[in-house]
């Protein structure tokens, strides 16, 4: 067992899903042609002034509430000054002195069943920078579409003690933020970005070890890998009697290691000062109340509702609430009248399998809640069998309407006793042994006979009706 302890702090930037930018009217839209969504403010033109987006500030308040943080009542904006091509004014407008939220926490559930509260030091609203891309030919190109997109930066307390805890924290944080609806929180699209601070010190040491920064980690798994590598590297360095340098590193995926980017010489000097172009903000009790009441149901509340109202298991409820899209999809299907339990089974089973197979996000598929509920209701009312439903499911992932598909392909389940009884009697005639077994008390025989009926009807017979007729006809023999 090692005699070191690890201290991890995470800074997470979450891009907000507002319609317009934090301080300009330009649309916020991922993936548009370069510089399409820019105006004179986004370019930092001479003479322009910012105007603050209420939606962005309120999103910050929602995040604060979701993370159990206190809301700061007197807020002003600050300028953080640094030169960079993706930072057109050469300052970023942020909330350095008066972050909108402070002193919150996120509760993580660890593998061993215990919980831990990870402290949230503060969260602040600020503007994102543009994007530089590097040609590798001696120049770089700047696209200012992202410039000014509102962000919430969430700064944890340094009380994350292991790479596993960091991973759990990130997952929980993503869920909490996602369920507020303020952000897509997608690592791959950059709407969630993680910066890591990690230090290691001998157990019992009074001061923290030297902090190493790891920037721009692309996934939670990478964050965990980077932390694991860095934790070991720093321990080894200390064991070897070396000193940990104050540096910025980056994660190298192929080797699952961290690589030195630059050594920090002293602290950066951002010359923060209050932004004179933007009026101050006073947050009243009423305002907080209004924002609170506009918050959608949290993941935890949904889990409780699914368990109590729909009799789902804890596990099922947890799977359905892993993403907001899935939970919303579930609610819509059930609202549409589909059986809650069957719906849960489909989403956890077939739908998830389909998503894994196609590597799509739910909202990017052709599957709609209406189509899924349509299919499930056809099962619920006996129109189709679950076996037939396999075909229907494939069809609805291609965007087909289930009822129309069923009709078009004659997938209607055989439930008419007048048609089923002769078929059943024919099978009974051919299987005297099974009749004897049944009379002898062997219930298995029923199963065998049902199977024969299904085989004969190419799976189209309604198993429930078949079962009923079989029992009645057996009694007659």
């Amino acid at each position: 067992m090692s005699s070191f302890e690890t201290t991890i702090g995470l800074e997470v930037h979450v891009e907000l899903k507002t319609k317009s930018k934090a301080f300009s009217l330009s649309p916020v839209n991922f993936g548009d042609p370069a510089n399409e969504n820019t105006n004179v403010i986004d370019w930092g033109y001479p003479g322009v002034l910012p105007s603050a987006n209420k939606g962005a500030l309120e999103s910050g308040m929602m995040a604060a509430l979701a993370l159990n943080a206190q809301i700061t009542r007197d807020v002003h904006w600050d300028r953080k000054n640094y030169f960079y091509p993706d930072n057109p004014k050469s300052y970023q407008v942020t909330q350095q002195q008066t972050p909108i939220g402070h002193d919150g926490y996120v509760e993580i559930k660890k593998e061993d069943g215990t919980s831990k509260r990870i402290g949230i030091k503060e969260l602040h609203v600020e503007e994102d920078a543009g994007k530089n891309s590097h040609s590798g030919k001696g120049y770089s190109l700047v696209d200012l579409n992202r410039q000014g997109t509102p962000l919430v930066e969430i700064v944890s307390q340094p009380n994350i003690s292991s790479p596993d805890e960091a991973y759990l924290y990130l997952e929980k944080l993503r869920q909490l933020i996602q369920f507020t609806g303020i952000s897509d929180v997608k690592m791959q699209e950059g709407s969630m970005r993680v910066d890591i601070n990690i230090s290691v010190r001998p157990i019992g040491a009074e001061k923290y070890g030297t902090k190493v920064e790891i920037k721009n980690v692309n996934s939670f798994q990478y964050a965990k890998n980077a932390l694991a590598y860095e934790e070991q590297r720093q321990r080894d360095e200390l064991m070897a009697g070396h000193i940990i340098g104050q540096e910025t590193r980056r994660f190298d995926e192929p080797t699952k290691s961290t690589i030195l980017m630059r050594v920090k010489e002293g602290a950066d000097d951002y010359r923060y000062f209050p932004e004179p172009d933007l009026p101050v903000i006073h947050v009243s009790d009423e305002w907080i109340k209004a924002v609170k009441s506009s918050l959608p149901e949290t993941a935890d509340d949904r889990i409780a509702r699914y368990i109590n109202k729909f009799a789902l298991s804890k596990k099922e409820a947890a799977v359905l609430t892993q993403t907001l899209e899935m939970a919303n999809f579930y609610d819509q299907v059930v609202d549409d009248g589909a059986d809650p339990k069957r719906t849960a089974n489909y989403l956890i089973g077939d739908v998830n399998a389909y998503l894994n197979e196609t590597q799509l996000d739910l909202q990017d598929t052709k599957l709609t809640p209406g189509h899924l509920s349509g299919m499930i209701k056809l099962i619920d009312n006996g129109t189709i069998s679950t076996k037939q439903a396999k075909k229907v499911f494939t069809a609805i992932t291609d965007g087909e309407e289930p009822k129309a598909y069923v009709e078009k392909n004659g997938l209607v389940q055989l439930s008419d006793p007048n048609k089923l009884t002769p078929i059943i009697n024919q099978i009974l005639d051919d299987n005297q042994q099974s009749i004897d077994d049944f009379k002898g008390g062997k219930d298995r025989a029923i199963g065998y006979l049902t199977g024969q009926v299904m085989k004969k009807t190419h799976g189209n017979a309604n198993p429930k009706i078949v079962h009923e007729i079989l029992l009645a006809e057996l009694k007659k023999r």
């Binding site: 993706d86 590097h134 770089s140 920037k215 903000i281």
Partner: protein, 100 residues
């Protein structure tokens, strides 16, 4: 407060401000800035204990706009003013120390 501005401080400040001065200019500037700072030192005569700083004289509070987007359609004009562009983007010397 500093009595005057040491030359190393002036060089550090110039670096932060992305300005370059040759030795002669730096000497001149350091001298002039020192004189200005002497003037500024008179603020020390004022007792400001417990005085709230004034960063703006605007009485405005909570002037926030609704979250409505408007496309500028200024992209081409903006690009036309840039010293160098390529593929609808702004061209700059290679960025080596990548940070974002």
């Amino acid at each position: 407060m500093s009595e005057s501005l040491p030359r190393e401080d002036a060089a550090h400040v110039a670096k932060l401000a992305k300005l370059h001065f040759n030795d002669q200019q730096l000497n001149l500037f350091t001298g002039q800035l020192a004189n200005i700072l002497d003037l500024v030192e008179t603020l020390n005569e004022v007792d400001t204990d417990g005085v709230k700083p004034t960063y703006t004289v605007s009485d405005n509070i909570n002037v926030l706009r609704e979250d409505v987007a408007v496309k500028s359609n200024q992209k081409n004009e903006l690009l036309a003013n840039a010293p160098e562009t390529q593929d609808g983007q702004i061209k700059v010397p290679a960025i080596i120390d990548e940070e974002s």
